[in-house]
């Protein structure tokens, strides 16, 4: 049983023959993939990692994923009575660019209004972090995460308003 199921994920690929890719000159292999230092900085010391209480009515939780990379990103916002984002936390399991993108947006949207935060575009994130074209979807994921968190927060508020409005009689009704 286990022998069969292990083959699903643990297939080792050992091409036994000739070069599968044209050999690059040794010099070319030495050159490191150049990520922008901001990406590396956010990746190595990500800001605002952690969780907020998802049951807190002032907290909105966004959960999004990018199947291409197998990435999952959770972004939470804590919003005050004036609709200003007071605190932001994130947890991202994925590639360096996804981690850097989410770390960057947590810093970026703290102190913004919900409306301002909802307007953050992935292009800003990508530009700020100088993401290479193949990693643009990571910045999109971060943008999606913000929107998802805002939607969750608004849904919560709407539900809360509906729940508190119904059972609590209005003063004049109570008087009658």
């Amino acid at each position: 049983m286990s022998a069969i199921l292990r083959t699903a994920l643990r297939t080792s690929v050992r091409p036994i023959a000739g070069p599968s890719v044209a050999r690059a000159p040794a010099v070319g292999q030495v050159a490191k993939r150049a990520y922008h230092e901001k990406v590396i900085n956010h990746y190595e010391s990500p800001r605002n990692v952690g969780s907020l209480n998802k049951n807190d009515p002032t907290v909105g939780t966004g959960l999004v994923g990018s199947p291409a990379c197998g990435d999952v990103m959770k972004l939470q916002i804590k919003v005050d009575d004036d609709g200003i984002i007071q605190d932001v936390k994130f947890k991202t399991f994925g590639c360096g660019s996804a981690i850097a993108s989410s770390s960057f947006v947590t810093e970026h949207i703290k102190g913004l209004s919900l409306e301002q935060a909802g307007q953050v575009k992935n292009t800003e994130i990508a530009k700020e972090l100088s993401l290479p074209p193949v990693k643009l979807h990571c910045s999109m994921l971060a943008e999606d995460a913000i929107r998802s968190a805002i939607r969750d927060y608004k849904t919560k508020r709407t539900n809360l308003a509906a729940a508190t409005a119904a059972p609590e009689p209005q003063p004049e009704v109570a008087m009658a």
């Binding site: 083959t7 994920l9 023959a17 000739g18 070069p19 990018s66 979807h137």
Partner: protein, 256 residues
């Protein structure tokens, strides 16, 4: 679950193919295909386009002897022709490749056996004493063969390849949101458990549970491909991609 692969907000219209038109929206980048799965197109030389009497793999243009495999290497006169890079990987191994014909359920041992046989014919070592053109053609075939084997041997890349052949390619810009929150939550919780696992035994438990999920998903994929349910298969392939991500993360932690 149909909404699993719902693309998030439409940002710019793309030229929607028929296959994608059924899905709500598309993201803006015509991004490269998922993982190492290359852009795949059905081979232009489908067997049905040949006359019934023609040899299944065509014949050598040099001596007209029929080819014994999908590799254009003549066993009679030794001539070697270039192999199109768009060659269908399943056809290369003489395997069913439609999807509904059990293509997904290939036997990895059988695949490996065929791979080794073909590789013997085009291995660069066997062509070392030949001319530069022949050597290059053999090297190209060997390389394509490696790529084809690598793609077909793992259930995830095999599923993705089959999907791309059937108009459901995995795009780098595919995104999951609330519609698939159950999956995302399961992945997140597993990744968190993995992160805080204190010892080898806990890691092994996570891995075993993940293997079970993967096995289940592979069985689902087999059924979905058999019925030709491409969209359902794509969703299942996404799940398998996440289980693969967890497996990779487990291995990463075990190395620490």
């Amino acid at each position: 679950m149909l909404a699993l692969l719902r693309r998030s907000s439409l940002r710019a219209p793309l030229s929607a193919s028929h296959a994608l038109a059924a899905l709500p929206t598309l993201r803006r980048f015509p991004a490269p295909r998922l993982l190492s799965t290359p852009a795949a197109r059905p081979s232009t030389s489908s067997p049905s386009s040949r006359s019934p009497s023609a040899p299944p793999h065509g014949a050598c243009p040099n001596c007209h002897a029929p080819y014994s495999s999908a590799l254009p290497i003549c066993s009679a006169c030794g001539a070697i022709q270039p192999l199109g890079t768009e060659t269908n990987y399943f056809e290369l191994f003489d395997l069913p490749g439609e999807g509904t014909d059990g293509a997904f359920d290939l036997d990895p041992r059988e695949l490996r056996g065929r791979f080794l046989r073909l590789q013997r014919a085009c291995h660069p070592d066997a062509w070392g004493s030949k001319g530069e053109l022949e050597r290059q053609r053999a090297a190209d075939q060997s390389s394509l063969l490696n790529q084809a084997y690598k793609t077909l041997v793992s259930p995830l890349s095999r599923a993705q390849y089959l999907l791309s052949l059937n108009g459901q390619p995995s795009l780098e810009t595919d995104a999951l949101d609330e519609a698939s929150s159950a999956l995302l939550l399961e992945v997140l919780e597993t990744r968190e458990a993995l992160e805080s696992a204190a010892n080898e035994q806990e890691l092994e438990e996570i891995r075993t549970a993940n293997d079970a999920r993967a096995e289940e998903t592979v069985a689902e994929l087999s059924a979905l491909f058999g019925r030709g349910e491409w969209e359902g298969a794509k969703e299942a392939a996404v799940r398998l991609r996440y289980w693969q991500g967890i497996e990779d993360a487990v291995k990463e932690r075990m190395r620490e």
